[in-house]
Amino acid sequence: MGVLNIRSLIIFSAILRVFLIVYGEWQDTHMEVRYTDVDYLVFSDAAALVVAGKSPYKRSTYRYSPLIAYILTPNSFIHRSWGKFLFSASDLLVGYFIRIILKLRGVPENLSIYSVIVWLFNPFTFTIGTRGNCEPIICAIILWIIICLIRGNLFQGAVWYGLVVHMRIYPIIYALPIVLILDPNHFQPGKKPSIIDWNSRQHKSNENLGLSKLFDLNRLWVLFQSIFTRPRILFGLISATIFFFFTGTFFYLYEWEFMHEALLYHLTRTDPRHNFSIYFYHIYLNYERELSVLEKLISFLPQLIVQIVLIFRFAQDFPFCFFVQTVAFVAFNKVITAQYFVWFFCLLPLILPWSKMKLKWEGTFCILLWIGAQTHWLFWGYMLEFKGKQVFLQLWAASLLFFAANIYVLITIILRHTYSPVFKHLVTSHSQKTK
């Protein structure tokens, strides 16, 4: 019954996506406003250049790894919608991976189906793949890494992790939590990690795990002592090798053009044009002068502090940790565009079964608040961009409001979450002897 349900869900989602791709083709040829994402045209042009034996960076604004252009080369000789089918297939794969992860963690069938629906039928996600945005591929790789880690398949996890960081950079924020979960208590040679079942969660607390847990010096010391374990070193080495292999190869092929467009641009990106970030107006007002090192540091510190706090608090419940880290990373980033939201939308279904938040009414309130704050920003954005009104101050205030809404939703999610480490502590040979 369950299998049938997930199968019919995926088939229905596939039909919906095919319909949207076909509809997109129609809209593109018959209407002035295109359905297809502008980035898709950039990918396609870059792929055509690759087919012609040229550098994909000859297409201005192509700011991705050449791998994206390579996988889209069939756009030139099979069909121009090839990439959309590929991205939508990845989008379906994300739905399938969500189910695998939840099943591995012992979540009941009906709950995992609801979670899968949250991804597959989220209007934001199904339009992003069918319009030709490459993010679903990144999401699928991230979820596959989570699956590899849960199954204890560290080699494969490390390979994919090195690749995904090369492709999109932002998953570098997951490096520290991954290092933390590769604990000798979870991963021992020749043993599969043992997973804590969803049913064994408990809401009632009988010990104080507050500040003392977060800043337990003894715990930090143990962590420091055991930091250089075999799985950690291997994971680090393999993923670094993959990352440097791809980055090095493409640097050899496309030289500084690749480094500037695919890597340095994203690392140093400060966009003065309006976007959801609270920093956009500040960057615009100071664009004509160079920001001092102190100013750059001040704007980076809140991001860094929040990441560290979240990682040290939630690393053992790593799907949740990845989710809150991503929401916070996007909220505190210097540039925020709508496509960044997909980065955490794909992780949201992984945390829902552990949330005590009821859709009625707290969940609904959070959704409405987030959408409301975004719509409010979009209104001022529209006034500036499409009506030509001087509303920079109002737009920036709307960014602050959206930031506040993000923080509110994030802390509500944290407070309603049932903290649940993924792995059980394995009994070590040392502790067996002492017994």
């Binding site: 042009d45 201005s60 507050g210 500040h282 615009y284 704007s299 001087q390 480490p421 059980k424 502590h425």
Partner: protein, 293 residues
Amino acid sequence: MEYQGIQVLLHLRLGIILSLLAGISYCKHPPSFFFEVSRSRKYITEAYFQKHDILIDRVFQDFISNEFSHGFCRKQNFMPKLLVIQQQLIGEGSHRHLTLSIKIEIQLEVLSKFPSHSCEAILVERLPSGVFADPFELEHLTRRGVFTDASAFGDTDLELPTVRANRSAVEVHMDLSRNMLSGNGWEFNIELPLHARYAPLGKHGYTRVEFVSPDVFVQCIVEGNSHNQRCIFSSTNDGVISNSTATVWEVPSGIVKHTKLVAVLTFISAVVGTLPIFMACVFCSENSYYKQS
């Protein structure tokens, strides 16, 4: 051995066929030129940017007058006269359309010397600083048949604000067929999609961007003694009727006096934003716990 021989023979035949095909296709396209620069390129503006890095109106006009000195084309005695040119900005916000109504007067008796469907109008719109055209959008419109050819040259980086960007120019080619003739000339409209860059900071919140009149040329294929030649004729602007008021785009710009307020509040918000997350992490630990079996 025999197999290898057949292979060599096959490759040889293939090579001969390919060279023949290449030769035929070369012969089918007569060598085209009008003035020196366009022998290898179809865009006048492209030729300008090959020689100059930035667009300066006076330098561009000098470039044009220097290049129009080719003997053969000058002998044709064809002087298209620009009668009407009106430009108007349509729409609001950062993405607008510049519509151009153009009427070119010609000597019909000279035109009869040219083969049919052999003329096209070339319009060069030198864009003011702060406005740009997206070359990829122009390409899309060309593919849809809106223009015969169109491209943008100069600084076409879509993301740079005005202070970091140089000026750019758009060149549009439109086919002028005999059936487009009305009276003693051609009359047509062009609609160019344009975008505003982020304007330099100001005191009052808007930056004025003023357009200059475009340059209009007529390019025709002229029957020569041995082969057809392509000539570009600069249109004379005597007595042209144009807009009485200048075409102006008011682009919203950031206000300098906001700088301090925005800096302080942005950083306070970022710092204040970290606190509830920190507190939530602490309190979350206290009300949820997983039993380790």
